[in-house]
């Protein structure tokens, strides 16, 4: 039986491609009709032409920011999972340090960006460290929550069947925590991108953040809009990769 037409229509309307197409159409149609000046929203063709005119720079910057984001994210995610697991199995460490962690999460971490740039200079390392730091917290906190949420009765059951602690962790606790950990990854990847962009503001020559800063100095509104679109596409692509990984490998839901 084929799905009802209205359901198909709804699925099309909900698809990301449709959203992008609709935004593009809105962008083409709205400025002339609503008399929005180019200072606020330049016409879409102008923005696209601007992107084409700086194509090699844009590509180099995109690549640089992508590298910073991904390295920082992978390192931060790995370290975050490790710390989360430590917390989950060492109650005293958790009770002493976890509240500090929660508190540090509310701290405007970007403010530490200045210090990181002081430490590492205007290198790629500085941005990676900022991205790492921003990813680390949500991943560690979500790992801990996920492991705590594992049903203790099932752990008792597995124990009574003679499973070792290692087996219980590997075969039960970690898999049941994975959906929550994935949520932490998704928060982490967008923070990681924001951290890399802001890290570039403290002084660098290549990167999407650098181009944004130059656009601000020369008040090039089309350039800034072009970069906003590119940053959004990069953010959506990174998020999409995580969602694809989740669908493929972590298809089960938490209890």
């Amino acid at each position: 039986m084929s799905p009802r037409p209205s359901a198909v229509g709804r699925a099309i309307v909900r698809s990301p491609a449709f959203a992008v197409a609709a935004l593009a159409v809105l962008w083409l149609v709205a400025p002339p009709f609503l008399h929005i000046g180019p200072r606020y929203l330049p016409p879409l063709p102008t923005v696209v032409r601007d992107g084409v005119s700086v194509w090699p720079d844009l590509l180099a910057s995109l690549w640089r920011t992508l590298i910073e984001t991904v390295i920082g994210f992978v390192a931060g995610a790995a370290f975050g999972v490790a710390v989360g697991v430590c917390f989950a199995y060492q109650r005293i460490v958790e009770r002493a340090f976890f509240p500090i962690f929660v508190a540090l999460q509310t701290v405007p971490v970007i403010a530490f960006g200045a210090i990181v740039v002081i430490w590492f200079g205007n290198t790629i390392t500085a941005k990676v460290v900022i991205a790492f730091y921003l990813t680390f917290f949500p991943v560690a906190v979500n790992t801990l929550h996920g492991l705590h949420a594992a049903d203790p009765r099932r752990i008792e059951l597995l124990k009574s069947f003679g499973a070792s602690n290692w087996q219980i962790f590997w075969k039960f606790s970690l898999p049941s925590a994975l959906p929550t950990i994935m949520t932490g990854f998704k928060v982490g990847i967008s923070l990681s991108l924001a951290g890399a962009i802001v890290g570039e503001w403290f002084g660098d020559t290549v990167g999407l953040g650098v181009m944004l800063l130059q656009g601000l100095y020369f008040e090039q509104v089309p350039r800034i809009w072009m970069l906003i679109v590119v940053c959004g596409a990069l953010g959506a692509a990174l998020y999409g990769v995580l969602v694809a990984i989740e669908r493929r490998f972590v298809w089960w839901r938490p209890d």
Partner: protein
């Protein structure tokens, strides 16, 4: 009593961390640009208190103003979307697409449009808050089962009645989560915007001190910013306890 017992390990850990930092720094004779000692940072904060305090006050006002405006917009849009399902189906994907742009990318636009004064920071904070509040509020408003909605409807309740008696109370815990995420993001958005251009504020203090290689002031400003965010977060948790007493 239980709060004292659960607080004790935290205080001990904090003291241990600070002591290790102070002792380690003094022992290895780390230069100020690598890691100043906690005592030095606090001393700097006390000396600079008048300028740091003024900067913190500016940042605080901008954050609160943006937070209030942004959460009001987010919550209102969520209510409108729930009352008009066709609007939700067509608008929500667009909002999610816009949301995939890191908020910091909008900072240059905010500065060009609204100038270097407070308006641009308030706008950035409002933007950063509105999305988490909107998405959480929407999820909360849609939580009541269709049966519960139908029951109220069959007793003659209007859509507004359903909204007021059922949907909004059910959405409150979820809304509070959005607000908590939002307050952190608002503070970060304001500080980041101040770094790029402002007359005053903690972000501007950090940016200038970094440029002038005045590392102690950078650390002191980070300390003030952290303490301020903690206070805001604590206040929000207290409001949450009062507001969502039934959990």
């Amino acid at each position: 009593m239980s709060s004292i017992r659960s607080g004790l390990p935290v205080v001990l850990a904090l003291v241990a961390l600070l002591a290790a930092w102070q002792l380690g720094g003094a022992l290895f004779g780390l230069p100020v640009y690598v890691l100043p000692l906690p005592v030095e940072i606090i001393a700097q904060g006390v000396t600079d208190w008048s300028s740091l305090g003024a900067a913190a006050a500016t940042t605080f006002i901008e954050t609160i103003a943006g937070f209030l405006i942004g959460s009001a917009i987010g919550a209102l849009v969520a209510v409108v979307l729930v009352l008009a399902p066709p609007l939700e189906v067509s608008l929500l994907p667009l909002l999610i697409a816009v949301n995939s742009v890191p908020a910091v990318a909008f900072v240059p636009l905010a500065l060009i449009w609204f100038g270097l004064g407070m308006a641009s920071k308030v706008a950035m904070a409002a933007l950063a808050v509105s999305f988490p509040v909107l998405l959480n509020m929407l999820a909360g408003l849609k939580r009541p089962s269709p049966e519960a909605v139908n029951l109220l409807r069959s007793f003659g309740s209007s859509w507004l009645g359903v909204l007021w008696r059922l949907r909004i109370p059910t959405a409150t815990p979820s809304l509070v989560i959005g607000l908590r995420v939002g307050i952190g993001r608002a503070a970060i958005a304001v500080i980041v915007a101040e770094m790029l251009g402002a007359y005053n504020g903690i972000g501007q203090t950090i940016y200038q001190a970094t440029a002038q290689v005045d590392y102690l002031t950078v650390w002191a400003a980070v300390l003030v910013a952290s303490a301020g965010s903690l206070l805001l977060y604590g206040a929000l948790v207290a409001v949450d306890r009062k507001l969502v007493w039934w959990r």
